[in-house]
């Protein structure tokens, strides 16, 4: 693992991986969108509005996945002072914030026709809004210091404290009364969703995951290059 985590090695192997990630993302989105918009059936209760699920649910899953990945990388950076871990955490934050924003916006667009309201202050929606603010707080704190190492440590602590919000989001639909429906894919007793809708959903989720890995690799490379620029500038200034 540490063999691949050296920044220069990362630049080499991620450079070879990038075109494959790009191709997989585009292919999966192509097939996923065809299934989601054309081939899958309308819901017997929700009609065609159910198609919002194919962007809403993957965005919400990735919002949580990204946060756990970010907090995990931040913890590795905090404990073992691994420079690449800090970079991965920092690079994940804007992607996770984008997924969370999409989950909120597409959820509102789905809520209006189905619940009759864009927004309710119930447990699921509010805890996802808190997740969005946690991402924004992480990004702000990470860049608030002149010394990037101090920014990484301070924001890592925020990310770890915010981790408590993840199970709250996951189980909010079971713990409190809410308009939001409970889990229908990852649940005891198997998915409560027909294969004709499950497959498009899983393909879209795979597309979102590949997109995350692609953009993550690009952003991590960008951060590594920024570190190199900073080091060269210091050498230039102090000889």
């Amino acid at each position: 693992m540490t063999r691949f985590a050296n920044p220069n090695r990362f630049l080499r192997w991620s450079g070879r991986l990038l075109p494959w990630l790009a191709a997989a993302t585009i292919l999966l989105f192509g097939v996923g969108l065809y299934l989601a918009l054309i081939a899958s059936p309308p819901d017997y209760q929700q009609g065609e509005s159910v198609r919002i699920m194919y962007v809403h649910v993957p965005a919400a899953w990735m919002a949580l996945f990204c946060y756990v990945a970010m907090a995990g990388a931040a913890a590795v950076g905090l404990i073992w002072r691994h420079p690449l871990a800090d970079i991965v955490a920092k690079a994940s934050a804007p992607i996770g914030a984008a997924f969370t924003l999409l989950a909120l916006v597409t959820g509102a667009l789905w809520g209006k026709p189905m619940w009759g309201t864009w927004w309710v202050w119930d447990a699921r929606l509010t805890s996802v809004l808190v997740l969005f603010f946690l991402y924004l707080g992480y990004i702000a704190l990470n860049s608030a210091f002149d010394d990037p190492g101090r920014g990484a440590r301070a924001s890592a602590i925020l990310a770890l404290v915010g981790l408590v919000n993840v199970p709250i989001i996951k189980f909010s639909v079971d713990w409190w009364y809410t308009l939001h429906q409970p889990a229908s894919v990852i649940r005891a007793g198997g998915p409560a969703i027909h294969p004709s809708m499950l497959w498009p959903l899983l393909l879209m989720a795979a597309a979102f995951t590949c997109y995350y890995l692609w953009v993550l690799a690009v952003r991590v490379r960008g951060e590594i290059v920024a570190h190199k620029i900073r080091a060269l500038r210091l050498r230039q200034a102090y000889g």
Partner: protein, 65 residues
Amino acid sequence: MESLVTFVEMGGYGRFVWPAFAVTALVLAGLLVQSLRTLKGREAQLSLLQGSLDRARRRPAGAGR
């Protein structure tokens, strides 16, 4: 043509379904383009900086270092 209209209307839910897919496409494409541009810009900056450092090293004035 008529089937295209039914497709766009989405059984009356078109004004919710299409914005949901459009905002997803916009946000994801926007973040991707911003990430790629930042990387390209920094790579160009790095090679420029490395070039000027190499030139400084070759110059006699910098040879004492």
